[in-house]
Chain length 304, copies 2
């Protein structure tokens, strides 16, 4: 797309508030602006203005955007972040996650890849014992998985004891958009069903029972769902399990692991899938509690 | 600023989620996307991604932005629009106002220039008689102005009868940020003080008494005020009177007129000042009700 700020003025419309206006807005920042903020705001103002000029944005269209942003804020609370979800559906959270992860780990290979936090993490999930379950209200179509693995240091290869593995996932009845973080959407699930924090043992091992993940829609009752509809896109996320892994002295990792057999793998509504994060669930033998098994080892980098 | 999406890859960092990622997000829009929405979202996604790559935006920085947007929504209601105000302090409303106005009026000279609506217009201001006042709780330092003028058609030069001139302004005690739209901030002002809608007579004339406007700060208790502080900028708007003028068969005009003697004329916190909109208040003779006078004629274009 040709930029409307092309100094040659070749875009065929009157550049009423052109580069000089934008320079004036950027130049209004005072001398006590924190340098990084100045850098970020300079680029933000430049790109926002260029966007408005590129598409010749009208006041009505801009106001529709303002209302969408205000609506996002009004739907957000301690358990829901619709502003974040709006960013997610245009790929921004995945992009900044990758920028941040790459900046911190340029020289480290073998590290477990990151993926976005998403809006559904909760800070108050209970600590549970290894080998126990996070699924308490298992739906009839749910398949139980025994998930286990080891947390190690990518630099030394050594196991990391006392690391926390915080896991959360949606229930299988994705069609009903039932998630714990939106209380009231699923009165059949108890609080903190499908959530738990596990601590690795002296060998760096963790284990728990969970559900084989299934695709689920992101919430459709707010601006992110509305925007997806306007863009003629589906609302589904491919089947995944969320993980947040922390160990003393290490850089914390937030990621998602994806069932390689899931049909939405190629068109995730929030663009979080990476090849490194696809996993295969295999049949579990001799365990009446689980049909499937997943070994997933996690490798963390030293904190900067 | 060099764009991070430069295909030559000359920017010295790993382009982890580069143009292909952005193309994928844009390409996810389905065939039933409304063409104008596709155009707007394509440019928005491109610029938002380029912004994130240009400054190597981190997840923490992005989340700070998300929280600011959610905060804006949470502070907004029917009487206050903080999402709009956030746009205003980075010049976006002035820019889109100018784009919209120019697109509609390219070939019409002599037309009164537009300026931004701002967040403080109210749809429920009372209709008042010409020659009456909008200032009921006049502060001691207030100077009364008799403002009057004619509304005409720019194409025919003829007066426009029955046009509505909706006027609103802040009180003089700008320091206290007292505005009617934020009830509770100024218990001394009655509802709809400094607001009124006037209808032009058969000669297209309107008239009313109001205050000589004084500079006032935009609200400092929300994200727009916070952002101004972070950018080391003042929060003041130069002295102005808001006008919204509508006549049957004409394109409605929203504008602001600025006291040419005001000290903030060169650095309006929301970048709305235009040379065409500067006015001079002159002494008023033989009127015990007003010290000053302002004649302001308004010229509207035919509706498209």
């Amino acid at each position: 797309m040709a930029s409307s700020t092309d100094q040659n003025g070749q875009n065929g419309y009157v550049d009423v508030l052109g580069l000089e206006f934008t320079r004036n807005v950027i130049g209004s920042m005072g001398p006590d602006t924190w340098p990084r903020l100045r850098e970020v705001m300079t680029a933000l103002i430049k790109h926002v203005h260029d966007f408005a000029r590129d598409v010749q944005l009208t006041t009505d269209e801009w106001m529709a955007g303002v209302q969408m942003i205000n609506w996002a804020g009004q739907m957000s609370d301690s358990k829901r972040n619709e502003g974040q979800l709006l960013c997610d559906v245009i790929g921004l959270e995945s992009l900044v996650d990758d920028i941040t992860f790459s900046a911190a780990t340029k020289s480290t290979s073998g590290l477990t890849a990151s993926a976005i936090l998403g809006p559904f993490w909760r800070s108050d999930a209970p600590i549970r014992e290894n080998g126990t379950t996070i699924t308490f209200d298992t739906p009839e179509d749910g398949q139980i998985v025994f998930m286990h693995g080891k947390v190690t240091s990518v630099e030394t290869g050594r196991p990391l004891a006392n690391a926390t593995v915080d896991v959360w996932q949606a229930s299988t009845n994705g069609k009903n958009s039932e998630r714990l973080d939106c209380r009231g959407q699923d009165s059949k699930q108890r609080d903190c069903n499908l959530r738990g924090v596990f601590k690795t043992d002296s060998e760096g091992k963790y284990s728990f029972y969970c559900l084989r993940p299934t695709p689920y829609p992101i919430p459709q009752d707010g601006p992110a769902g509305k925007l997806l509809g306007l863009m003629d896109r589906h609302v589904f996320r491919p089947a995944h399990i969320h993980l947040m892994v922390c160990a003393s002295g290490c850089r914390s990792l937030t990621t998602q692991i994806f069932d390689e057999d899931c049909k939405y793998l190629g068109n995730d509504s929030v663009f979080a899938v990476k090849d490194d994060l696809k996993v295969r669930f295999v049949p579990r033998k001799d365990d009446p509690r689980a049909e499937l098994e997943l070994e997933y080892n996690i490798s963390l980098a030293k904190a900067a």
